[in-house]
Symmetry: C2
Amino acid sequence: MKGRTEIAELGEFGLIDHLTAKFQNKNKSTICGVGDDAAVIEASKDKAVVVSTDAMLEGVDFDLTYFPPKHLGYKVVTKGISDVVAMNAVPEQITLSLGISSKLSVEFLDDFYEGVEFACKEAGVDLVGGDTSASVTGFIINITAVGRAKKSEISYRSGAKEHDLICLTGNLGASYMGLRLLERERRVLQGLGDAVTPKFEGYEYLLERYLKPRARYDMVESLRKEGIVPTSMIDITDGLASEVLQICKSSKCGARIYLERMPLAKQTTALAEEMNIDPVIAALNGGEDYELLFTVPLELREKIVNLGCIDIIGHITAESTGAALVTPDGSTIALQAQGFTPKTTAKE
Amino acid sequence: MKGRTEIAELGEFGLIDHLTAKFQNKNKSTICGVGDDAAVIEASKDKAVVVSTDAMLEGVDFDLTYFPPKHLGYKVVTKGISDVVAMNAVPEQITLSLGISSKLSVEFLDDFYEGVEFACKEAGVDLVGGDTSASVTGFIINITAVGRAKKSEISYRSGAKEHDLICLTGNLGASYMGLRLLERERRVLQGLGDAVTPKFEGYEYLLERYLKPRARYDMVESLRKEGIVPTSMIDITDGLASEVLQICKSSKCGARIYLERMPLAKQTTALAEEMNIDPVIAALNGGEDYELLFTVPLELREKIVNLGCIDIIGHITAESTGAALVTPDGSTIALQAQGFTPKTTAKE
């Protein structure tokens, strides 16, 4: 009889590697399978369709006690299309598959779809299909996003080369701090009824980054205008550390990230200080930033600087050097990834 | 303040219509959106990619006390690619998104993926991506299937014309009776320990149809060889009645289905008799047959008969006549659809 191996022993990334190791692609139309932000499928001689799928589960990925359904609808679209954008492709369609419990009303779903519709309009994507099931255990959302790109313009995780610049859009850690703020206020309010309102003043930006993040589809357009095709790209969903390690693993390279170049918003550092959290930890391991991390050859530095909204936070090194954070005094700290481990109890 | 409308008041199909009414497609590449088995997206001048998504939830769509993980892996692939097949397209890729609870072991997932791999090999499809999340509430599976077809060969639900023949592959109700058998044996065994084994002899076919159904991708090939493009097509997942009504709604037509032409397997009628169930009800409302229901012009009757494995069970009529079952004495019974209604308690 077989023994029992706990999933936690392998971790999320180990589990995926383990489960998909045996699979081999057979169809000519499969250009890229498991192991990137999205699968790449041939559309025509020079064009490809990219497809990505993501789940969001109540009690794990969101808590309906403080997540307004309209924002949730918006955020799930962001989560889906961000993976398409991370391939340097233009998102064009999504499908939604929902597991709906009897706790939810039609009015709740109306609000949820209003958020979906708003995000779709903003990003120029069509909702083209879906599936609804009864759920016995809360709200379950699955999004599949489809996009298009010229084959020659797709950015995989695997193309980073030594000396490439490591570039980052936006700032990090704000979404994580927004979540921490919501959790703190929920605890403060528990049992106090309507007499007390949560204290969010001065931290509205953090809430927006957590509840209503926008995917960086604008960057696909900006990069194209400048004629830049990143040698590798990934979106920040599990925190900077995890994403840098993914690129290093796929591209068989190392990386150096400079601590003092880590872009942090003022509200992020302010709340982190208030809550005694190291903002760098929020940036490295927080996740759900939906910003883009990408690499370009050194000679494109000026073009990147001219784009104006991108930080160059480090560079690619030889594989043997590993991936590390460089502190202002020049010492290095090895980057460590965080994946999920299954939870044993419900949060409720 | 808004009132609260229960989802059960609208029903599954009413809910989908309600939620998606406001959405309009904007992208040129969106050929067909919500409302068919799969979305149709332009690939090149004459080719299209079709995309479909489906969820399977523990406690709703399957019960792990009698569903072996290997079969579950096989069945979820069938469920996904059956929608692609129902567009008359060739399935080529799938992605899997899993919600995994700590109750599940690595060995369980190994078995599950073995079933996935077996089904993929058999159908010639590639597993190209996925997502894994922690689930606090059981095993959650979402499959997205991608296929390809010439635009001119895609069968929508909306193309059926008056006088078209209504055709059906295979037989109906076997999967439903397989499920009823498993549920009966589980009840019989509850509390009796290992001393008693379930009684499945003589009904192995029904178990296979429920636990390990095969999608009819063979039919896409057969139809193509004969030069037949169905005027409409749908796969049988919610029972014949529901699927006939879907075609009638999309094609703005009526239908007559002849009771005596309903294909039923011997084991289906035998177990139905034993359990005092009307086998016609199993066929009409049972679902999960993964057979294909399609329409062709009257003049293709001989070609269809020559294919050898297809029953002509009725014909398309004018919209005003509605969709009905015709009994041997010539009387008609209006067909009624069944969708899900959210469950209020977990099965466990």
